[in-house]
Subunit: 134 residues, 6 copies
Amino acid sequence: MESSRYDEGLKKLLEMEGEAGSAVIEKMKLISPDFTRYLLEFVFGEIYARPGLDIKTKEAVTIAGMVTLGATLQLKVHVKAALNLGFTEQEIVEMMLQLAPIVGFVRAMDGLMAAQQVFDEKTKGELGTDKGQE
Amino acid sequence: MESSRYDEGLKKLLEMEGEAGSAVIEKMKLISPDFTRYLLEFVFGEIYARPGLDIKTKEAVTIAGMVTLGATLQLKVHVKAALNLGFTEQEIVEMMLQLAPIVGFVRAMDGLMAAQQVFDEKTKGELGTDKGQE
Amino acid sequence: MESSRYDEGLKKLLEMEGEAGSAVIEKMKLISPDFTRYLLEFVFGEIYARPGLDIKTKEAVTIAGMVTLGATLQLKVHVKAALNLGFTEQEIVEMMLQLAPIVGFVRAMDGLMAAQQVFDEKTKGELGTDKGQE
Amino acid sequence: MESSRYDEGLKKLLEMEGEAGSAVIEKMKLISPDFTRYLLEFVFGEIYARPGLDIKTKEAVTIAGMVTLGATLQLKVHVKAALNLGFTEQEIVEMMLQLAPIVGFVRAMDGLMAAQQVFDEKTKGELGTDKGQE
Amino acid sequence: MESSRYDEGLKKLLEMEGEAGSAVIEKMKLISPDFTRYLLEFVFGEIYARPGLDIKTKEAVTIAGMVTLGATLQLKVHVKAALNLGFTEQEIVEMMLQLAPIVGFVRAMDGLMAAQQVFDEKTKGELGTDKGQE
Amino acid sequence: MESSRYDEGLKKLLEMEGEAGSAVIEKMKLISPDFTRYLLEFVFGEIYARPGLDIKTKEAVTIAGMVTLGATLQLKVHVKAALNLGFTEQEIVEMMLQLAPIVGFVRAMDGLMAAQQVFDEKTKGELGTDKGQE
């Protein structure tokens, strides 16, 4: 039963975060397999899998928590997840603007710079893919 | 032009937060009329009024920021606002559950207790109104 | 299997926190049965139950996290737990002194005042019990 | 030599914070005489006593740190100290306004409410004294 | 009228932060022109422009907020601004020493290292200029 | 007497942190000799030297404070200290797992990555030493 929750969590994470999430999981597994298991079983397999709130609002809430903590690394992974879930770049920028007066321009500015890095990498990736298709 | 932004902000705040927001404004005006003006003109008249993200996601983001800071007082006002905007009590509880692993069970528990106080006051208020109508 | 983890968590919590923990659980169940379940299943049944670090060090780490966040309410419950686990009052005071230069005298002072409230309630409780036994 | 630093710290604290500081010291002595000693010897006798920055700027910096942490209790003591050092009420309000965009309106609002409580108590105290003199 | 506030804010920012501020503005404009506009119009054009507190105390308060948040990037820009406003390097170091016991040696140490980086860059810049003049 | 406290602090720091601590001290001396003196005299010579709590629990508490603040740089120095004091790598990992639900998976993940960097450097160092001995 636990293993099904693990699998469900992994599926959810890959669905949301794609390669970026997969890279985090591989990295964290080497540091602490149990932390990684809790991340998949509990955070993704249990909490993200709950039905009572739509996944996009959950992701917005997650991003806001990370901006407030000033946690750039994890924020970048979740900005990617937000894009995968259908938020536009502009909507993600708007989240940071909304947070600017609430938790301060300092945290919002860091959030915007992290988001922009994700947007830039994505554009480069797409350009790269385009080139590859030529 | 400024005064129109002030009025727009006040309208937005009353629409979202009703009496609770109005009470905060009256209280803050006595402490600092300028802080109150910035709250109405800038936070509500400018930031909340931006069109690029739906108001419910903005409010979820605001609540998440406040839970992460552990800011109980303002959180309660925005839990009321979230209810006014159409979030159900259960959805607000789900926001706290979503934040539990991200920013910790400690902040999430404080968030849940603050939300429950709002739900209880609302129920009492409604019961009171019912009684008053008899 | 889940229910056994729930039971194990509840047993752990009662063992550590006694009545204070029990009261928190009853209160939180009314707000969110699922949050309470995660608290028991995951935090107490899984994380606290891990064998790789002695329970007293785990509790010291927990207290330090709560002092740093400035989370008075939960800190008081865990000061009680620390006493139950065999830490002396003086050792708990020393934790706050250790944190004073690390996270600041401000958070350490709040931590000391919260701890003292627990020590005082305990003394009153014991006096009360003594009286009751006469 | 240590005892002279303790005395110097106590003198500094009383000079800055008056009765409010004295009350904190008496309260903290009962909880941890050593914490209180460090507060007097190190924070007031050493850090506050340093000559390289004027005392008013030091106090402004202290208040800003406390507003950012959301530490209401200690903030109130230091708002009193700031008044004793010659800052006007309006200048203290301006510090909170300055912090509003930097660390967020949420923390600034809590700071303003804490400051106002100090201003109100002071006014009552003065009125009380006036009455007493009649 | 808004555009005059924007211009006033830009003038204030350039006056305070010089090239460093200008670089931030150019970078942020590419990410979010509106965030940049709020930074200029509201933070610099409105808040910094308020007359009730001298600009040096405002800057000290801003720096203290950033040290407490652990926001290195923005802190460096504001250490430059503090130097431009007439604070000496030693006075900025003293701000960090003052914050050490309040918000902890950890944040103060990060603050000192950020400040030192600014001092070093400034020295190199001046040496560079000297060389260029030969 | 002060100089003896300084020497005692330096001895304690070198004992706990070895070369890593020594490097921090040399670096900080160039930035602020007084900050470094307080670090040695007060934090190491006074607080760490207190007898009422065993040194390993003190270090666990210190690490927990730094994880909660998200202070990677200082955390790495104290992970080294924890290893020197006899904590195993696995026990340090367990501290982060214990903190995951308390202060959030975000801070715990950063803590785990910082700890792993220390473990990796240590392994490289040991391999290097082994090689050198051939």
